[in-house]
Symmetry: C2
Subunit: 312 residues, 2 copies
């Protein structure tokens, strides 16, 4: 089997939906619909995991017809212990079965065979006596670059064998991101040095759309930096968090796109999946309305509108 | 309950054993004793998890009388899926019950409430309706600093509430570590800027031994950098990986210690727990001999020898 290039799969999915909005699945107990908390409360961490799973599956039902990409946050599932990770597996599987691309937001990093262990688990599966055993089976994984090439290349090698992708943290969306990322080295901030490396990795193998399978995480909350990285990296797909609850606007993300509307995935979590009053019985309608509104706004204010019309 | 400061707990444990060698638990299927592979093979990932658990528990039996600290590598347990994380929980619990301090090597990083979710799971437990539910219950966690203060402070706040510690990656042991960590910013390499931040966090709260609860990961494979960071950070505990299989020698780690023998934890994984022929039926005796030899060597060639005599 020859795996289809990650950037091609992503581009096809975004064109088919007419957008590249990514729904972040960051389940937090205190922000869940109250009915779900009542149903699963008192069950300790396994109950919390069951609530996160039910919430995730119901969000997928709502958003799968509307968007191409979902991004579960590993931390919240891990916080429930082993049962949470079983829930994460089932949420990821359900997303795939609905034709969604999945970005596992784990920000993993380590070296050599340890990085390969994370990567194989994320992508084609953990090798056991020569046969890969699927674990998370995600389409992409977020990766932290601080350890250097040894911490990225094993992820990349594993991703490429399976037509998957890696998103490397470049300039993140948090208020303290600049503490190290903006330090000036040889006349340029650190994050541009990381961007250089990401560009070199991406150019090792481009899809037909001209984009690579190594992406960059660049926050919506820093539009000037976003524009700078886009100029430097025409071949790189950006994962842009920080749209919505973190304060980045749709217009702030515009500089992250390629002119044809490809090249950027804009992610929102709380703004889509915690947009309702917990006591609101029709919370799924609120999630649907918020997702449709975000798509409309991004299509109007960014090149995303050039992706085609998507579903009616 | 007032939690005892992490650095005090670590110092007491190291003094009681007469050393600060840390046994890394990095189980890899291909390096396990063949008898364990035969026993659990054919069981897919749950079998792999069971083999990792049995291996970890048997290593703990051997090393608990000899050392103060063990460091399970999260990646290899995660690679088995949810059953692997249940195995990790049981290995961590067994280590605690044997009086060992545990460093969970997860290199986690994220921002705000996401970082707090990782941290609470690592330390006192995930809060659920106001009550913490234990998940990993480790004594310390490795953390990646690239995201800046937002990615470290939630870990630190959670650790401090429970008398736990955080080890921040500063200068890692891998060949490509320098790609970003050695970039010169304002006349000094990036890793010294990270070290500055670690020092400031550590000085927020020192134990009676004069050491903080925020440590630094500095590889044994870079002795000059290790000495530079030690001069800069007299109050910081170092976690020094890379001793043994990665090529760092005992003498290379000497510069990481405080003169009284505190302040450094030296970690070895494959050199201790994959030191045998897989077909060797008495592999535990090999692990014991390798651990004793490492302790002897470190006590002879570094200030670790000043910690007292430990057990006979």
């Amino acid at each position: 089997m020859t795996a289809v290039h990650f950037a091609e799969r992503l581009a096809d999915a975004c064109r088919s939906r007419g957008n590249s909005l990514c729904v972040g699945l960051d389940p937090r107990w205190d922000l869940l619909p109250a009915a779900l908390r009542r149903k699963h409360g008192g069950g300790g961490l396994p109950g919390m995991a069951a609530a996160f799973e039910e919430f995730g599956l119901r969000v997928l039902e709502v958003v799968a017809p509307l968007v191409a990409v979902v991004k579960p946050q590993s931390a919240f599932f891990e916080a429930c212990g082993p049962e949470g990770l079983a829930a994460l597996q089932r949420v990821l599987r359900a997303a795939r079965q609905k034709g969604l691309l999945t970005i596992l937001d784990g920000k993993r990093n380590d070296i050599a065979s340890t990085a390969a262990a994370y990567a194989d688990a994320a992508f084609a599966g953990t090798p056991l006596e020569g046969r890969p055993q699927p674990v998370w089976d995600a389409d992409a994984l977020t990766v932290n670059p601080y350890l250097g090439r040894d911490a990225v290349e094993p992820f990349l090698a594993s991703a490429r064998r399976a037509g998957r992708g890696v998103f490397v943290l470049v300039r993140t969306s948090n208020p303290g991101a600049g503490q190290f990322q903006d330090l000036v080295c040889d006349g340029r901030p650190l994050y541009l040095h990381v961007a250089d490396a990401v560009g070199a990795w991406a150019r090792e193998g481009l899809g037909r759309c001209g984009l690579g399978d190594v992406g960059a995480v660049v926050g919506a909350t820093h539009p000037a930096e976003l524009a700078a990285v886009r100029r430097l990296l025409p071949e790189v797909v950006f994962l842009i968090p920080g749209y919505g609850a973190q304060g980045g606007t749709a217009a702030d993300t515009a500089a992250g796109f390629r002119a044809d509307g490809l090249g950027a995935v804009v992610s929102s979590s709380r703004g889509l999946t915690a947009c309702f009053d917990p006591e609101d019985a029709v919370w799924e309608a609120r999630v649907e309305a918020a997702t449709r509104a975000a798509v409309d706004e991004l299509r109007r204010l960014t090149p995303m509108g050039r992706l085609g019309n998507g579903p009616a």
